[in-house]
Amino acid sequence: MIEVVKRYRTAVRAAGAALVAALAIALAPPMLSAQRMLIPMDDGQTNHLKAYGLTYGAIKAGLQAEWLLNYRGGAFLLPDAPELRRRAALDGISLEPVSDGQLAAIRREMAGANMESVPLEKAPKVAVYSPPDAQPWDDAVTLALKYAGIEFTRVYDPEVEHGDLSKYDWLHLHHEDFTGQYNKFQLGYRDAPWFRELVAKNQATARQLGYTNVPALKKDVAEKIRQFVERGGFLFAMCGATETLELAIAGHDVDIAGEFADGTPIDPNADAKMNWKRSFAFKDAHLEKSPFINSMSDIDGHQVNVAGRRQPLGTFTLFNFSAKFDPVPSMLVQDHRAVLNDFYGVTTSFNKATLKNGVVILATEEGAPWTKYVHGDYGKGTWTYLGGHDPEDPQHAIGNPPTDLSLHKSSPGYRLILNNVLFPAAKKKPLKT
């Protein structure tokens, strides 16, 4: 299996490198032609997810690209280059040649509506925080990046501790438990071989890096991620990483891990000692102190692993922002569907009562006390949280087969993930609000 994964990684790296090289060669002379290609992102698109990869590849090759917010589902405008056409044809991506006249008409239409063109300039360097032996399809973002053909590098605790985050623009976290309690999986999987192996590996890593236990290591990793954002990094997190990262940051100086994780019981006054000024999104959350309840805190609205508290899945609605005045949230919600089916994760949603003032709510469930998708600034950087594990596997459970994105080429949920990958490429404009 490890060999398969190695081959997989090599193949993807090779494919990515080959594409970029091919694009660079093909497009070395400046594009003098006025012809452009419109990549529609409404229902006229046949492969929405690959379209993001095409655009990312174009930016990576130094081409000018534009993101036409709210125009045809958040379309992309690219130069009409042979290599881009070739890749679009191979990947089954719909494109429409646009003449200068047609482009002028598009721009006129956009000027008079809630639409905006955002230049995309620099392909962000992408890092995914994930164990080195994780399956490529154990994480929706990894799945999306692989499928779209966007290069990324895996980083884990040793790399973060060695300061490698400064090499990247964009960092993704998934269902890592930054409180060091292994998502409390010991409740159900205490004797499972994979769980025992997970615990042993983490403990060994903590010892190697000079920490007495796993919670101490994870807290420091969380702190370095906080600093990454503070210095201008883009953070995107899903599933359990959202909640536990916040708990680890706010609980930096508090014992918030159960006895099974660090040998000492959780501080009975932990709630009062949490320093929420340090965290990105949440405040005044209450820790779940019982080691027998599979929940971390009251941040998550759905509590999927606590039978008596579990809330059913509904739908969530993406908010519509002013593209001209709020381009960043607008970019994050570009989609061809406004209402999406919800999906469970270790952390599925975020209770509104625990959100800090100033957090931008990007999507929410009408009438529910929780929200699904939130964003905010922190220091010089930004963070975005999307609850849930896999948009196309709403009841995802351990051992489930991986999601095959070739069967979900136009997944509106996965588009939210890829919006996040692309938005750091946008040329920064001074906000008008």
Partner: protein
């Protein structure tokens, strides 16, 4: 949806806990066990009072509020499992399960050792998500019946269902200590270990469980199916260990089918002792294989069953499987004509088609003709044409086209204007006749699709080389057929790509990759605009991928996608390319 009459009340839909429990199979067998605990409704309803019968009728009519007083009255005066289950169902339909608790409590005081009442008690608390009370109900059951394994097993199953496998583990351990053995808790242990991802321990427990109850084989395979590929060899070893156990082998066979290894599934069953119980298992497997068009496996399994237990129906099924699997000679021994005895009509209806088909496949035209003549007067209307086609086919195989034609003519005007007559004309190169007769064919087979695909492309009324190619194919001489299709290109250049792809398919079917690749290459290079070019390039790429040349395969797939953007094969080509790039999970 209404619950089954004798089953437990409909439980609230308990979503399998995300990330906490992976054993989706828990619900079904647990339900099966609970149902087994309840007495059969039909049997008991005859003993119920008129009021209870009336309550059941009201419940069936959806009048739960009217049924409840009758059930409750019966529960006070003459409680039976039927009454308790009826009341449970009715309250559950109205979302009033909590109202069941008080009368149930009184009932348990009167009948503390009745397991069904305790099961309903626990289930009610489970539905109400009152897990502390569920625990107390379990303790009460243990107190009431301390030497019974059921409380431990039932409660453990419910804990697994609500995502508390660790607690279930401790309950089973407690039961083992209290009872002095875990023998009666193997089923729960097996489910529990599967829920926890401890596949090896689960398989060992299943092995023991299945030794006592082979009927749980499906439950076992359902529970173990999610096991990752890395542990499957261990599970095979455990379930397949000697001596072969019928339940364990059935579970293993089910697993192999789920894991995409049907041949291994048969191997798991093949070693069972040759007795009537195994024959039943083999017959079931054979039926399934037949329905999935795995004729070789069906033949092997049904033939094994026939060796142990002969019945006319089983023999006919085995013979049909053998014929479809390409073993026509076995038809004669599996279902001999003599088996029909003196019932000539049955012989003509059930046995004759198999025997004539077998003789045709063997090219024994004279024998086939004699057999048909013997039963001619018993043939049903419509059977004559079918027999004529088979006879013609037999003579074609024997290389005697004249007698084949005679067979069709003798069968009457219908047969002489049938598909068989059209094919015969084709074999003789009379393309105009073949075209006319086959135009209205209803035959949906791949063979007829090949014929029509080529005949419609070839111009002119005569094509002897083409006829020779199809004749070689009909005779089963695939090497000659492939060469003759290639030879026919010179005389029929307008259908060159169709002829070459037909030849390439034959080479590919014979695992002759170099021969197939040579033809695919020729089609792509010489017939790049033809509709067959896309198929040729796709198959060429697949062959290269199988040989490990991923770069070559990718180049062909990319060429196909870019050069034939309107091809119906594009989704398949893109899928292959994704797999090559590793951008989608293998599978």
């Amino acid at each position: 949806m209404r619950p089954p009459r004798s089953g437990p009340a409909p439980r609230e839909r308990l979503i399998v806990g995300v990330f906490t429990i992976a054993a989706l199979g828990i619900g079904t067998p647990a339900m099966a066990v609970a149902q087994a605990a309840a007495p059969p409704a039909a049997q008991d309803s005859q003993q119920e009072s008129p009021d209870v019968t009336r309550a059941i009728e009201l419940e069936n009519a959806g009048k739960f509020r009217d049924a409840i007083p009758l059930y409750r009255q019966a529960m006070r005066t003459n409680p039976t499992p039927i009454v308790v289950l009826g009341l449970e169902r009715s309250y559950a339909e109205l979302g009033m399960t909590d109202s069941l608790l008080a009368p149930l409590d009184s009932l348990l005081t009167r009948f503390p050792k009745e397991p069904l009442y305790h099961v309903v008690h626990l289930r009610s608390f489970q539905i109400l998500r009152r897990y502390d009370a569920m625990r107390a109900a379990f303790e009460r059951w243990v107190h009431d019946d301390p030497r019974n394994a059921s409380p431990y097993g039932t409660y453990a199953r419910m804990l697994i269902e609500i995502g508390q496998p660790a607690t279930a583990d401790s309950i089973i351990e407690r039961g083992r200590i209290a009872l002095g053995t875990a023998r009666d808790l193997q089923y729960e242990t097996a489910q529990l270990r599967a829920a926890m991802g401890d596949w090896e321990a689960s398989a060992r427990a299943w092995r023991q469980t299945l030794a006592n109850d082979a009927g749980l084989a499906s439950a076992a395979s359902y529970a173990l199916a999610p096991a990752p590929a890395t542990v499957r060899p261990t599970l095979r070893t455990i379930l397949g260990a000697a001596p072969p156990d019928r339940g364990a082998r059935r579970a293993l066979a089910e697993l192999e089918i789920t894991w995409g290894q049907p041949q291994a599934a048969w191997e798991a069953l093949r070693v069972l002792p040759a007795d009537t119980a195994s024959a039943t298992v083999w017959e079931e497997f054979g039926d399934r294989a037949m329905s999935e068009e795995r004729y070789g496996l069906a033949r092997d399994a049904l033939t094994a069953a026939v060796r142990v237990r002969r019945t006319p129906a089983l023999d006919l099924k085995a013979a049909a499987a053998a014929l479809r699997a390409g073993s026509p000679a076995e038809v004669m021994t599996l279902a001999p004509m003599s088996e029909a005895g003196t019932d000539q009509a049955t012989a003509a209806r059930d046995y004759l088609p198999l025997h004539v088909g077998a003789l045709a496949a063997l090219g024994r035209g004279a024998d086939a003709e004699r057999l048909v003549a013997k039963y001619d007067k018993y043939l049903a209307p419509g059977q004559h044409e079918r027999m004529a086609r088979l006879l013609a086919s037999a003579w074609v195989r024997a290389g005697d086209l004249q007698r084949a034609r005679t067979a069709l003519v003798a069968a009457g005007a219908d047969a002489d204007s049938s598909d068989a007559a059209g094919l015969l004309a084709l074999y003789e190169g009379r393309l105009d006749v073949a075209r006319r007769l086959l135009r209205g064919s209803q035959d949906q087979s791949a063979e007829m699709a090949l014929v029509m695909g080529i005949v419609s492309r070839v111009r002119g009324d005569s094509a002897p080389q083409l006829g020779a190619a199809f004749l070689a194919l009909a005779r089963g001489d695939s090497t000659a057929a492939a060469q003759k299709f290639v030879d026919a290109v010179a005389q029929n250049p307008e259908a060159a790509s169709a002829l070459l792809i037909a030849a390439a398919r034959i080479h590919a079917a014979r695992n002759d990759a170099p021969g197939a690749i040579a033809l695919w290459r020729r089609i792509v290079s010489e017939q790049g605009e033809a509709p067959e070019a896309a198929e040729a390039e796709l198959e060429w790429a697949r062959a290269l991928r199988r040989s490990g040349d991923t770069q070559g395969a990718a180049a062909h797939l990319e060429h196909l996608i870019l050069s034939a953007p309107q091809s119906a094969l594009l989704p398949q080509a893109r899928r292959e390319l994704e797999l090559l790039r590793g951008t989608v999970p293998p599978g």
